[in-house]
């Protein structure tokens, strides 16, 4: 029989501690929609997305009601559009409009995959797609774009890094009348995972099956509440164990939802992404977990160590709870989406340099950081290159999602509303890396031994 305390614990987690399934994301391969005629290709893309994911929202809602768990987002990721653009030629923005229309028809809140994989160089379609990103993101609302510019196996494509610096700026400029929101839908990756269910970086990798369901769990509030109940003198091994136990329970819930959704939709279940994904809601913050561990404020000396332990314990706890783990899996640190991070950034405790150090041990990278509107493109390229280098050398995923606040300077704020949150403009070191960026070429793949 089920224990009453266990029942009440689950109910408390959902009701008071913001436990939810953050996203069920259907990955759809569009390789069979490729066509030499771009208009025909767009028709096939629209038809396939609506056919495969037409029921996604309804199925998600019925699972929410059956188990009483909120499933916050229902989303779709597709094959990197650069591959289709390479075959069809023409203006890639047509694909973006098609994705946006399909997303509206099926009622999802984001669709990812306006993407290109360029870690070793540009193939047909890549350059055209990248050049079209600013226009695509300003003309559409639900489309998310990502570009992979490096990997541990391939090194870093510095030509792509240089280009992306100006693409990020241009994207922000074209949406400057809407809080520069375009840049919040654009992620630049190193070692991008092909099965990531989280936006804005989700795309359906070419090695994935035709159609698959991936689930992203959440639960920073639950972890923090569990730690708050511990004795302040409990040692860090005990803290780590508590995080593991909590992550296990949260992940089991994700596994259940994924299995149910896959059965109801008749689509294979891919992975559970074991992530602590914060929201701006008070109590749903990764920064507060770090502070609960024992920091005066997130960003203090010791933050990187606390985050490293948190990230590792989440993975250890979650791994046994799911039959297949994948995606980004770990703790996210998106500044504008996390109440504790916003507070730390406002008070000056959190700088972009500290965030960069934190990304060496967390699951993603410099995420949702607002930078001054006059930051030159070369400096943004420098930020991207630094972050990619951390990912490449440490064989992990890193990413950059910075938002140049056009027309705003340090001390001012951008407010995106909803899950994307709000955040102050952070100081950026503007000494120029222009000469390095102009060199272009590739940073060769790193040695895999002599790890010091």
């Amino acid at each position: 029989m089920i224990n009453t305390n266990d029942i009440l614990e689950t109910i408390r987690m959902i009701q008071d501690e913001n436990l939810d399934v953050r996203t069920t994301t259907m990955g759809i391969s569009l390789l069979d929609c490729a066509d030499a005629d771009i208009d025909k290709a767009c028709e096939k893309v629209y038809e396939k997305i609506v056919r495969k994911a037409g029921n996604l929202v309804a199925v998600g809602e019925s699972i929410e009601k059956k188990y009483g768990i909120p499933i916050v987002n229902k989303r779709v990721s597709v094959t990197p559009i650069a591959m289709l653009a390479g075959i069809s030629g023409g203006d890639p923005v047509k694909y973006a409009r098609t994705l946006d229309k399909a997303a509206r028809t099926i009622g999802i809140n984001f669709i990812g995959g306006y993407s290109a994989l360029t870690q070793k160089g540009f193939s047909a379609g890549d350059e055209a797609l990248i050049a079209s990103i600013p226009q695509a993101l300003s003309e559409t609302e639900l489309v998310c774009a990502s570009v992979n510019i490096g990997s541990t196996k391939a090194g870093i494509n510095m030509d792509a890094v240089r280009t992306m610096g100006s693409i990020v700026r241009r994207t922000a400029e074209l949406t400057s009348d809407r809080q520069c929101i375009g840049a919040a839908k654009l992620v630049i990756f190193c070692n991008a995972p092909e099965d990531n269910p989280f936006m804005a970086g989700a795309f359906h990798g070419p090695g994935e099956p035709d159609c698959v369901i991936n689930v992203g769990v959440s639960g920073p509030g639950v972890v923090r509440a569990a730690l708050a109940k511990m004795d302040d003198t409990a040692d860090l091994s005990a803290v780590s164990d508590m995080i593991k136990r909590t992550a296990f329970k949260v992940t089991r819930m994700g596994q259940l939802v994924g299995t149910e959704a896959s059965k109801a939709l008749g689509v294979p279940f891919g992975i559970v992404d074991l992530s602590l994904a914060p929201t701006p809601a008070v109590g749903d913050s990764v920064a507060y977990i770090l502070e609960e561990i024992g920091l005066e404020q997130c960003g203090a000396c010791g933050t990187t160590a606390a985050l490293a332990m948190l990230n590792d314990a989440v993975k250890k706890g979650g791994l046994m709870a799911s039959s297949n783990v994948g995606g980004l899996s770990g703790a996210f640190i998106p500044v504008t989406e996390d109440a504790g991070m916003i507070a730390a950034a406002r008070s000056g405790a959190l700088s972009i340099e500290k965030l960069e150090a934190m990304t060496a041990v967390c699951s993603v990278g410099l995420d949702m950081i607002v930078i001054p509107g006059d930051t030159p493109a070369d400096v943004i390229s420098g930020i991207i290159a630094d972050e990619a280098a951390i990912g490449m050398i440490n064989s992990k995923t890193t990413a950059v999602r910075v938002i140049p606040a056009i027309g705003a300077a340090e001390g001012e704020e951008l407010d995106f509303g909803g899950l994307l949150g709000t955040g102050p403009v952070l100081h950026v070191n503007t000494k120029s890396p222009a000469k390095m960026m102009q060199r272009g070429g590739r940073i060769p793949a790193p040695v895999q031994s002599l790890k010091n």
Binding site: I2, D6, T10, K249
Partner: protein, 87 residues
Amino acid sequence: MKAVVSVIGRDMVGILAKVSTVCAEANTNVIEVSQSVMQDLFAMVMIIDIAQINCQLETLQARLQERLEGMTIHVMHEDIFNSMHRI
């Protein structure tokens, strides 16, 4: 197939009676009830068999909520608890 009904709120006369009535109307069989009252806070967990249920779980929850205004009521399929708390 079983579901868990939980009711939390201020204690008053007839909570259990109302919950059981609504469950019976939905053709579900009560298997186990555990309830306690601490000061004036009422907490009840009821496990019901839903093999022959004649409505959706959400409808059952809505009917309970209608009869017991002001109480916090959850109706959830048992699998969520089994998967979270059992290996």
